[in-house]
């Protein structure tokens, strides 16, 4: 008896065209013709805000015709905390812990994105010491691995593949251990500071990180074997939730959701920040824009992130223990807190310390937008400053918020059970969406 079955792949481009044509004609599953003409009364079904497939507190009001969704109305805001209002009432440094709670599955990446936005406004984003840049990239990529492992694990669990979730969470646990050693916290890292980092790498961390990178690829291969050519998984995800290239651009999707539809846009490549221009990595692109492509894109991004972290650890200026004393902060005393010994002995440093703690970093008037390639997509910060220590207006362009806005367009025409797969494949997080 055959234990595996060949999957008919065919010409992806032709398939993509066929599916796109079918979507525009209003038919998402052309082979289920008998499902298309089920007439009768429509039913309204409330999905969420507390539903395992909504990954938090998303509520979607679905209008069903039999099992087919005819209308979807997302209802967000259940996790709104007023982060943008809060930001206007505190110094730039004080807002860093709030960025942990945006995409709480990748707090390190949020810390880095926010710090870079403020540094761009200060005009020091190109003056960061090399060691700081490399450590920040390691942080971003570890966050990406962590977020994608969770994304794939939950997506698979929503579709019934429980084992994958257990495998990926085993690996995430190791990333949390690394975070704990690095920042003192497993989730709420608050690791960056304006102009640098809170602390250098602890002793032995580089070896622990290498160990993790070796283990995660083994586990990733196992996930790959469980899912990628699994008939049930392919049936549940292929040709489901197809986002055409033009729609992905029109709805301004970012991250793996945009690249799954074949649009080549990655901020790390298009506008390299930190030291991304010195690192070698590929950006995976999908061809069909369905749930399966978004899954493949995430799996490949994890592998690329592993590659990036390996390069960073090898090229890390100052090496693992930083015996040479490479700086991790910019040298400007008016931006970064001075070393404690100097505060106790030198007048100038004491003044800097006092001013920074009581009034915050003095930021010039002006406005900047900075977008970073986060695991969920482009996390942008628009900061409007009128000078002084607090932002006049801080707007967070949350990738999950924008990615979810395609739901009313994407869900209709699909079966109710496909909605679960589509939500899983979009990989959103409500902490960031609702802010």
């Amino acid at each position: 008896m055959a234990t595996s079955q060949e999957i008919q792949v065919g010409d992806p481009a032709a398939q993509a065209d066929a599916v796109t044509a079918a979507v525009s004609a209003g038919v998402n599953r052309p082979d289920d013709e008998d499902l298309q003409d089920v007439g009768g009364d429509k039913m309204v079904l409330n999905m969420g805000p507390s539903h395992p497939a909504t990954h938090g507190v998303l509520r979607v009001v679905l209008e069903l015709d039999g099992e087919i969704i005819t209308k979807a109305t997302p209802d967000i805001g259940y996790l709104h905390r007023g982060d943008e209002k809060i930001a206007e009432n505190m110094t730039y440094t004080q807002f860093i812990p709030y960025t942990d709670r945006l995409d709480y599955l990748a707090p390190l990446a949020n810390n880095v994105a926010y710090a870079l936005a403020v540094e761009k406004l200060l005009g020091i984003d190109r003056q960061l010491p090399p060691r700081c840049q490399f450590i920040r990239v390691i942080c971003c990529e570890l966050a990406r691995i962590s977020s994608h492992l969770l994304g794939v694990g939950c997506f698979a669990m929503d579709c019934g593949a429980m084992t994958v979730f257990l495998l990926t969470f085993t690996e995430r646990e190791k990333i949390h251990n690394l975070c704990e050693a690095l920042t003192g916290a497993r989730f709420t890292t608050s690791y960056t500071r304006i102009g640098g980092l809170a602390r250098d790498l602890p002793p032995g961390w580089v070896d622990q990180c290498r160990q993790f990178l070796r283990e995660v690829v083994i586990n990733l291969d196992e996930v790959d074997q469980l899912l990628t050519r699994n008939r049930i998984w392919v049936d549940r995800t292929k040709d489901i939730g197809v986002i055409a290239k033009a729609d992905a651009i029109d709805f301004a999707l970012t991250g793996p959701n945009l690249r799954g539809s074949g649009v080549d846009y990655d901020v790390r490549k298009a506008h390299p920040y930190l030291c991304y221009d010195q690192l070698k990595f590929d950006v995976p692109l999908g061809s069909m824009g369905d749930c399966y492509d978004r899954y493949l894109a995430r799996m490949e991004e994890v592998r690329q992130s592993v590659k990036i972290v390996h390069q960073c650890l090898d090229q890390l200026p100052g090496g693992a223990d930083n015996a040479a004393g490479e700086p991790i902060n910019v040298s400007d005393g008016k931006t970064v807190l001075p070393p404690k010994q100097k505060v106790m002995t030198s007048m100038e440093e004491l003044i800097h310390q006092f001013m920074l703690v009581t009034q915050g970093v003095n930021v010039p008037p002006g406005e900047v937008y900075f977008g970073a390639e986060n695991p969920k997509g482009e996390l942008g910060f628009y900061i409007h400053s009128r000078g002084g220590g607090t932002p006049y207006r801080l707007k967070i362009r949350a990738p999950s918020f924008v990615n979810l806005s395609i739901l009313p367009h994407l869900l209709p025409g699909h079966l109710m059970s496909d909605a679960v797969a589509i939500l899983g494949s979009l990989d959103f997080v409500m902490g960031e969406c609702d802010r």
């Binding site: 967000i76 805001g77 709104h80 007023g82 943008e84 209002k85 809060i86 009432n89 761009k120 406004l121 005009g123 651009i249 029109d250 709805f251 301004a252 649009v263 846009y265 298009a270 506008h271 002006g366 406005e367 900047v368 937008y369 977008g371 482009e378 942008g380 628009y382 409007h384 006049y392 207006r393 707007k395 362009r397 918020f401 924008v402 979810l404 806005s405 367009h409 609702d434 802010r435």
Partner: protein, 191 residues
């Protein structure tokens, strides 16, 4: 194509409607004089390759006239240029035409601005609150809305007291019991 070139092309077509570009930290900003022309300017910018609307933001210039500034972050996936459009809207009107016809992603951004800032977008297909709930009486991102919240006389839709945390288990009051003793599980642990 450069952001400056984009700004020049906009200026050559619209003349005085579009201001000269200003540059700060490598980003080019252009001010549009009349909010009513915004969809037209945006449609032309899209023709120039700005097919990707990153974000729409609103700023409350409280105490100044005009009170509102709307900020559009445009991006082109082909030419990889970023351009910022800004337009002022007066408080008495607090309304401008929607750009949902140009980019569909504008839908939720405009709803958010309406919800939190109270600026209406004419021609928007579905202008409802998005983050706050239906019937909420205030616009919380306005500068005259206090951080602690505002009381309301509509108890069904919002808190009637300014600070909903007051008297809660984790709010410290001077001279009162400390947080550990007020913690709801403290009794169970003792008893």
């Amino acid at each position: 194509m450069t952001p400056q070139r984009l700004a020049e092309l906009l200026q050559s077509r619209y003349g005085a409607l579009v201001s000269a570009p200003t540059e700060f930290r490598g980003e080019v900003t252009v001010r549009v004089a009349d909010a009513e022309q915004m969809p037209e300017v945006c449609a032309y910018a899209k023709k120039l390759g700005c097919d990707f609307l990153l974000d729409i933001t609103s700023i409350d210039n409280y105490g100044e006239d005009p009170r509102w500034t709307i900020v559009y972050e445009l991006y082109g996936l082909e030419h990889r240029c970023h351009l910022r459009l800004k337009v002022d809207v007066g408080e008495t009107k607090s309304e401008l035409p929607s750009v949902t016809g140009v980019w569909r992603t504008a839908n939720w951004h405009e709803r958010e601005i309406y919800d939190l800032m109270g600026i209406r977008f004419r021609g928007h297909p579905d202008l409802r609150r998005i983050i706050m709930w239906e019937g909420y009486p205030h616009f919380p991102l306005r500068k005259d809305f206090p951080l602690a919240g505002k009381p309301t006389d509509v108890p069904d839709v919002a808190f009637t007291n300014a600070s909903p945390m007051e008297g809660g288990p984790f709010v410290t009051t001077p001279g009162g019991k400390d947080a550990i003793e007020r913690e709801p599980r403290a009794k169970e642990l003792k008893g």
